[in-house]
């Protein structure tokens, strides 16, 4: 475990460094723009289509952070999931608004059929049927929210592929909320401050009138820390976090060994969050 943790920290450090001079290989805004970028159709590596892999195979180069959620660890331990959620919301000053209409959530629990409407059918196993699945922003490789945003307040961080937000630029048009096929975004319908019980001064609070969502803990990665939800599950391996494009990373190994699914792959956004169910 200790060893694993060190490996992670190395990765996180590399992330920060890579940000300084990483070659700009990450295309900021997927397919719509890909044809405009001069490179002659690099994405259509014909062979990657050949083997019946279908879509979703092409991806941007450079560091691309992702997450594998191992549901087997959560099936019998919903409390662990609650801890992860609480850790995230505490770390990011996410207000606790009870009313469904105005609620704000970065990571939350939902049913399998809600998380995976495209994979759902009525013959599910008991554990899948009766367990809560965590959902959060997928930090998509081809994020439709970024395409929609008219001010670049939502953007892809080139150094690590995180879909990030600038709360000071956001005009609150909520186009990104309509564009996200995962319902990952929340809007501040009112001043959130009265609904924050414990305030974390290390993370900026938001004003009313802006959108927010999971930021893959980019502020913690910068300090060499794991994401808060990953840390809350430390030792269990329930959430694995790392660079999807590094074949040596732990996450790549897990993805290589285990069968995983993504939420709504048909939307073409290429999510970076994978689930072992």
């Amino acid at each position: 475990m200790n060893n694993k943790r060190r490996k992670f920290l190395k990765m996180a450090g590399a992330t920060v460094l890579a940000g300084m001079g990483a070659p700009v290989l990450v295309k900021l805004h997927g397919t719509a723009q890909a044809s405009a970028d001069s490179e002659p159709a690099p994405a259509h590596a014909a062979d990657s289509h050949g083997g019946g892999h279908g879509h979703g195979e092409e991806q941007n180069a450079g560091i691309r952070l992702g997450m594998v959620i191992d549901m087997r660890k959560f099936y019998d331990d919903e409390a662990l999931l609650d801890e992860a959620i609480a850790a995230c919301h505490l770390a990011h000053n996410v207000p606790d608004i009870d009313e469904r209409k105005s609620e704000i959530k970065w990571i939350w629990k939902t049913g399998y059929g809600n998380a995976f409407p495209d994979h759902s059918h009525n013959r599910r196993s008991g554990s899948v049927e009766n367990s809560a699945f965590p959902v959060l922003c997928n930090h998509c490789d081809n994020p439709s929210c970024v395409k929609a945003c008219p001010t670049k307040a939502t953007f892809v961080m080139e150094k690590n592929g995180i879909v990030s937000m600038d709360y000071h630029r956001c005009i609150g048009c909520r186009f990104c909320m309509a564009a996200c096929p995962y319902g990952a975004r929340s809007f501040n319908w009112q001043d959130p401050r009265p609904f924050i019980t414990v305030y974390n001064p290390e993370f900026p609070g938001r004003n009313r009138g802006v959108v927010e969502k999971c930021n893959f803990c980019s502020e913690r990665l910068g300090k060499g820390l794991e994401p808060a939800c990953v840390e809350a599950c430390a030792g269990t391996g329930a959430i694995v976090f790392g660079d999807l494009n590094d074949p040596e990373s732990e996450i790549s190994k897990v993805l290589h060994e285990e069968f995983t699914i993504q939420r709504r792959p048909a939307a073409g956004t290429r999510p970076s969050v994978f689930y072992i169910v």
Binding site: H29, K101, T110, P117, T151, K152, W189, G209
Partner: protein, 391 residues
């Protein structure tokens, strides 16, 4: 020419006073929303756009609908529209002003609105929508004003203005096409993700705009001593009739695709709109009455116009009746159903219904009243000039 707005019969002033008081209520409501935030509306995390954006969408269509007067007159040289083309241009101006106000009312951070210009983002359709809306607004201001000024001086309009009239035609198409693209390019929203949205928007726009102009013509015929001419009005009813037929056809195609393919995502929103959506034992159907009333209005309106054609009759009351029905039907289609149903169900297949709040309705009415006030003043000027020329 502005001075033409300062003289009028008592009815004119009463009308303006009514509008002004609605506007005042609207501002009071907006002040409340500005202080508290958009939480004062009925919008939610699931239905994140409401009345403001739906009115915006509908009014872009009304603005584009003016094209149905400009095109025959300037391109096909259809002289009968000579007296009313200016009405189409002025309608576009008022509708666009309302559009921009609805956008501002909808922003969570209205003071940052200019960020769209400071950080132009060409891959966002909202950026392009802003460009074409402003472009079309300026074009109509320019063309409307120059042409009316020359009419007043009884000289032919300067040649260069026809250049701008010509570009205003593709612009009219583009405003509604780009507005459709706000919706139809979003993955995961099946109801909107359809290539027929833009053509359907245009078809309904070409009915909604002219029917509003017909209504205005009838009102002005009665109260302002302005006659658009029977031939022109007849022609407009023909245009409206065909546009409604095409719009209905497109809509029925959506039905076919959804219910014949039985792909759930393509059926859900339509089910929600017309039959109610059942979900976990609960039925969600708050838009069903609106949609069926709109359907009835749509077909009765169509029937009225068709009857006038077939029986070769012309009756101002029938024209008014048909236009009001069609206008209301299209308003319910685009100004309510289209936007709200797109959010049902949400991406996690949960259902949240949207009910606008009183405060939100107050702001909405205030903006409509502002637009109608502007339209009244502009039409007053246009008619004033026509009367002056006739004397």
């Amino acid at each position: 020419m502005i001075e033409k707005t300062l003289k009028g019969k008592p009815a004119y002033w009463i009308w303006l006073a009514i509008l002004a008081s609605v506007i005042a209520v609207g501002w009071a409501c907006y002040f409340r929303q500005y202080v508290f935030g958009l939480g004062l509306t009925g919008m939610s995390r699931d239905v994140s756009w409401g009345l403001y954006i739906s009115q915006f969408t509908f009014l872009v269509g009304v603005a584009a609908g003016g094209l149905m007067l400009v095109l025959p007159y300037y391109i096909h040289n259809y002289k009968e529209f000579g007296r009313i083309t200016i009405l189409g241009e002025f309608l576009a101006i008022s509708a666009l002003v309302m559009c921009l106000m609805f956008i501002m009312a909808d922003l969570g951070q209205p003071l940052r609105g200019l960020n769209v210009i400071f950080y132009p983002t060409p891959y966002s359709m909202l950026f392009w929508d802003m460009c074409v809306l402003w472009g079309y607004l300026l074009l109509n201001l320019l063309c409307g004003w120059v042409i009316l000024t020359s009419e007043r001086k009884q000289v032919p309009p300067p040649k260069w203005i026809y250049f701008f009239v010509a570009i205003s035609i593709p612009f009219a198409v583009s405003i509604h096409t780009v507005t459709a693209m706000l919706y139809c390019g979003l993955p995961g929203r099946h109801f909107w993700l359809s290539a027929i949205i833009a053509p359907r928007f245009l078809a309904s726009a070409f009915a909604a705009g002219p029917s509003l102009i017909l209504i205005a013509c009838l009102i002005m015929r009665k109260y302002a001593n302005f006659d658009a001419g029977e031939t022109a009005m007849r022609k407009l009813t023909t245009i409206i009739m065909y546009a409604v037929i095409i719009n209905t056809f497109f809509f029925l195609l959506e039905f076919f695709v959804g219910f014949y393919s039985e792909v759930p995502g393509h059926m859900h929103s339509l089910q929600y709109l017309f039959f109610g959506l059942e979900h976990h034992g609960e039925v969600y159907n708050n838009l069903v009455p609106f949609m069926w009333i709109a359907t009835i209005f749509n077909f009765v309106g169509l029937g009225v116009f068709a009857y006038m054609k077939i029986a070769k009759v012309f009756d101002y009351r029938l024209v008014g009746f048909g236009s009001v029905l069609v206008f209301l039907a299209l308003w319910a289609d685009k100004g309510l159903g289209f936007v709200f149903a797109g959010f049902v169900p949400n991406p996690l297949e949960e259902v949240t219904e949207y009910y606008p709040t009183l405060n939100e309705i107050g702001i909405t009415l205030g903006i409509w009243a502002t637009g109608i006030l502007l339209l009244t003043l502009l039409y007053k000027i246009a008619i004033g000039v026509e009367h002056e020329v006739e004397q």
